[in-house]
């Protein structure tokens, strides 16, 4: 009888200990990766390769996401505000929700799917085929060579992507507003500019940097610690995407609280 009560408790305890241990391990991994950013040798070519892969090749998905989000925001907020005869608020709602929230979060989720998975799969394959061990025997620190450049590239690329997403999202909203909802183009753009504050954009870009770091970190960590052949790598890839997506949403709340809570 006792085991009926104790077994689930023990399982819960084990899970909690496991979670704490993983958090500690990821934290140490992150510290080591960051410490390599400032210690030579630097692998500029690897950084640039990862940066182009993230910033340039994620542009299409991020751009499409942003445009459609801006369009749907304009449409939805218009139907909502029309009930109070407050249609003029559409421009401000579109630009503020895009720059503060939806731009960073949606771009980060898209990039987590693309890049987190790619990092985990590539580094995980290198782990299970002994390539990471081979790096060590070839006078190269795998943390410095594989992990540090990728995490840095993700951290710097995400804000750039989000800046593009902000602009394109506003454009999407403007398209719907002028061509479908009957706004005057100049007036819509003017109220967009009037309502937008520097802090809206800056906070969004800061979030983007944090999200980029999380994507790079979880992707490389899951790959680096993967075990057990093709299956292990598959599991690492899934974990990288799931873990970074959840962390992005949780951190988004925490950062919003930190930036805007009174």
């Amino acid at each position: 009888m006792a085991s009926l009560v104790l077994d689930p408790l023990a399982a819960l305890g084990r899970a909690a200990i496991g979670a704490c241990r993983a958090t500690g391990a990821v934290g140490l991994f992150a510290l080591e990766a960051v410490s390599h950013w400032v210690r030579p040798p630097f692998y500029g070519r690897l950084f640039w390769g990862a940066f182009v892969e993230i910033a340039w090749f994620s542009l299409p998905v991020v751009a499409l996401t942003a445009v459609f989000t801006g369009m749907v925001l304009a449409l939805q907020s218009y139907t909502g505000f029309a009930r109070f005869n407050a249609q003029s608020a559409v421009a401000s709602v579109v630009v503020i929700s895009l720059t503060r929230e939806l731009g960073p979060v949606l771009a980060a989720l898209m990039v987590a799917g693309r890049i987190g998975a790619a990092f985990a799969a590539e580094i995980g394959t290198m782990r299970v085929t002994d390539q990471i061990d081979a790096l060590t025997t070839l006078s190269t620190d795998p943390m410095k060579y594989l992990v540090a450049p990728r995490v840095l590239a993700a951290t710097l690329a995400l804000p750039l992507l989000v800046l593009v997403a902000d602009v394109l999202g506003v454009m999407g909203g403007w398209l719907i507003a002028t061509f479908k909802l009957g706004f005057v183009s100049a007036a819509y753009l003017k109220s967009t500019a009037d309502f937008l504050q520097t802090m809206d954009v800056v906070s969004g870009l800061a979030k983007a940097g944090v999200f980029g770091f999380v994507i790079g970190l979880m992707g490389t960590w899951c790959g680096y610690t993967s075990r057990g052949g093709a299956r292990g790598v598959g599991g690492a890839t899934t974990l990288a995407v799931v873990a970074s997506s959840i962390l992005i949403l949780a951190l988004d709340y925490a950062l919003t609280e930190a930036f805007f809570a009174q």
Binding site: M126, Q131, D133, L138, S139, T140
Partner: protein
Amino acid sequence: MMHGALPKIRLRGLRKAFGAKKVLDGVDLDVPAGQGTVILGGSGSGKSVTIKCILGLVEPDAGEIEIDGRDVLRMPRRERQEMADRIGMLFQNGALFDSLPVWENVCFKLLAQNRITRAAARDRAAEVLEQVGLAASVGDLSPAELSGGMQKRVALARAVAARPEIVFFDEPTTGLDPIMGSVIDGLIADVVKRLGATALSITHDIASARRIADTAAMIHRGRIVWTGPAASLGQTGNAMVDQFARGEREGPIQMELRR
């Protein structure tokens, strides 16, 4: 084995378990300097793990590892790295970097240590590739475009390209045709003779063991059970070694399903 001379690598009481499975259970081994030594042993007997312990890729649970008389396990990280810079390794599965062309794989260590420019590395790669029987044009291919045996030879070229003092060869001739196998054996013997390197190899091929090694050691159940001249393999008088060398089913070594 030369008595009195300091062994290049000295293992004492090396132990390693993965979970409940004891893989190494007190390995004692002296690898003499400037010679070829070969480790024999059944599949899964811990040969690769022994080498990975010496390289620092696997942390042993207990025991001592000395290189040139210095305890590597208690060395500061930087000194251990310097030690590792002088060691070459051929992994059992090749472990080539598939994101890099063959020539960059071959000269990876030289480039990492800034001992060579990228332009000179191409020429050096061509030179080493030729020694393992590959044309210079192979250097521009990606490892994924090579056959298994070619990958093995590229991995071998990578292991010796930086002219290491110590080289580990984990099954250097597995997967090669017999002729290419003896070419590679010749290369390994040459690396030992010409560069004065110390080579520690793992092989299942007794003929190859005789060609590349002066000394042979047999590992069984996590311990070294026999050490002697490689030339005597097959008629050592040790029932276990002789059974292994002749590939007989009957004898002191019983095939174990699980340990």
